[in-house]
Assembly symmetry: none
């Protein structure tokens, strides 16, 4: 097995274990026995447990960037109709979390109770999504598809929180839903709420 392969194998096993048991309840011993390597080997690739976890977060983050960024062509395409653009963003975000349950668990759950030493790495995920959402909202305001009186920051938080919780609750294996999850359907439902609101018109 080549070094690069082995490193990825370690990261992979670590991802599974961290996602299942959390940072503190995952021991180096667990990781090496899962990966089928010797105790010392792990320290050839990572300085220590913290560095391993950081590296893992790093690799997950790189996946995020690739997944949820929308290209200029796509922007044009989806900008036409209000809601269609937001829907696309939502769908892409849900797809990111849906694509990898372990990732989802680590980013949305494991990561949360950790110490400031990981703070920076942890925030990157939400900061990135927040940044994109705020950009989307501002863009919408500029194009006059989004109401100008809404609070950008608060709304971005509202959407992000909604997406995190829905991802967490619908995608994680230990919170199983009956049948397969249909992201298009969920997206549509969410967009519908943000399009029309919750309430009937009380003309």
């Amino acid at each position: 097995m080549k070094p690069e392969e082995r490193k990825n194998r370690i990261l992979d096993c670590a991802k599974r274990l961290f996602s299942k048991n959390g940072y503190h309840n995952t021991q180096i011993s667990d990781i090496i026995s899962e990966a089928g390597i010797a105790r010392g080997t792990i320290y050839q690739y990572f300085q220590n447990k913290e560095d391993l976890f950081s590296s893992l977060l790093d690799s997950l983050y790189r996946g995020l960037e690739g997944s949820i960024i929308i290209s200029p062509e796509e922007v044009k395409k989806y900008m036409a109709r209000p809601g269609s653009y937001l829907g696309y963003r939502i769908k892409r975000t849900l797809e990111y979390f849906y694509s990898d349950r372990d990732l989802c668990s680590i980013v949305l759950r494991i990561t949360q109770g950790l110490q400031p030493e990981f703070g920076h790495l942890i925030r990157r995920f939400e900061n990135k999504l927040m940044e994109l959402l705020k950009g989307d909202i501002e863009l919408g305001k500029k194009h006059s598809t989004v109401r100008k009186d809404i609070d950008t920051e608060l709304t971005a938080n509202l959407i992000a929180g909604a997406l995190f919780r829905i991802s967490y609750n619908y995608f994680l294996s230990d919170n199983p839903r009956h049948g397969r999850v249909d992201i298009d359907e969920i997206t549509e439902k969410i967009v519908s709420i943000f399009m029309k609101g919750l309430f009937l018109e009380t003309s």
Copy 2:
């Protein structure tokens, strides 16, 4: 100092420390030195660290129940206008988290990465809110103030996620906002989004 007092003192110190440092990074040593008691004393009141944390979650949970449940009279009062009822629920929920930053940190952050051993205790908070929100939505549907085509479960998750994130981001001391937070204002903004949606009517 009376036993009951002492127990509360321990819980209080533990709350501060857990909220700041997390479960694993808070040591018994920290708690006893913060509480000014002897090492053994803590075990007179709690079986072990886990029991102490559970007891703490218990006491926080009892506060939740008292805070966000809406009495039948209030239901009547707020049911009249669509949105006013939801707004009231949102406000009460935000107030609950705003009232105690440590509580907010523990419930929304510290608790997240923990092991299944706490799972049950942890879920109670969100389950309670979810139950109430779902009830609200169903009630709204029955009274024909809420659109019948929305997905109750998903919408409850959406609202809960939004409220959690907003609480976390606006109330916690280490995520400071400029100036004091105005819950009424935040509530109004959130309600507005759920009333009218995000978008301008495109005639």
Copy 3:
């Protein structure tokens, strides 16, 4: 057993083991099994292995100060005849090392190859003796009992080196001499060399 007793017991066992096996070849495990205590107990009294060793050096050093300092009355008493004062100093120094073979081994042997982190503590022993010897020589020059043309620093080094080596070679248990060592006799021989030199007068 009282805490103070226990701490001394640990220091005592550590002294024996360090003196025999050196710093790096003495494990915490060795010390605790020698002292008959639990693994954690040692860390109640000392921060870590380094701190334990430092504390040990400290206590040995305090013994040195008590042993080789000569009171003003003694100075007067011995100052009368040249050589008698130096002899007294030599005797006191030899007695210090002779009194405790472990001390002797630690100060003269174990300590030598260690890292800068102990440098300060290690130097104290030789610095103290050097300081005293240099004082003695200067005093002798002032009283015109010592030749004014000798180099104080170099001579102090010469005497110190001689005393260290003789102590090490005559006193240490693993460098055994036949029969008991007679410090008075050794002292006399050393003084004789420094009194008359090594050589016959070749008048």
Copy 4:
């Protein structure tokens, strides 16, 4: 690079590192990175770390033998005047240590705290010097240049201890003296003490 060259290069780097950091604080990693070779290569030339250190001591010892042995012709030459012979021995010994600071540090410092496993190799240095010094003294006694009443063994230890300490303190780079060290001057001062003693004649 030829094998022999490479082996010497390793020994050379090891010497520098051991002399600076001691045996236990010098890692194989340090040596290979200093020598610019691969980890495995070192084991082609030496069985293990202990063997490497032994080989190093061996090579240093061979230097000692070459340096401080005095040829029969020289014996004749210097035997004439008392003191001149001893002075020559002292000078040669000091020169040996002065010629190589790393050697000096290893022999006089690093080596000291080590375990019995090196005992034999370590003693060789001092044994050799002791053997020579004792021979010198006995020779002096035979030629009636040295006082017959002095204790050969003790005196040899005294001189050896003095030379070790003076070498260590005057030659090592981390115990710097102002200006360059003049071995002839030091030798002269030492010999003077052993010639005339320390004290003024109080006839």
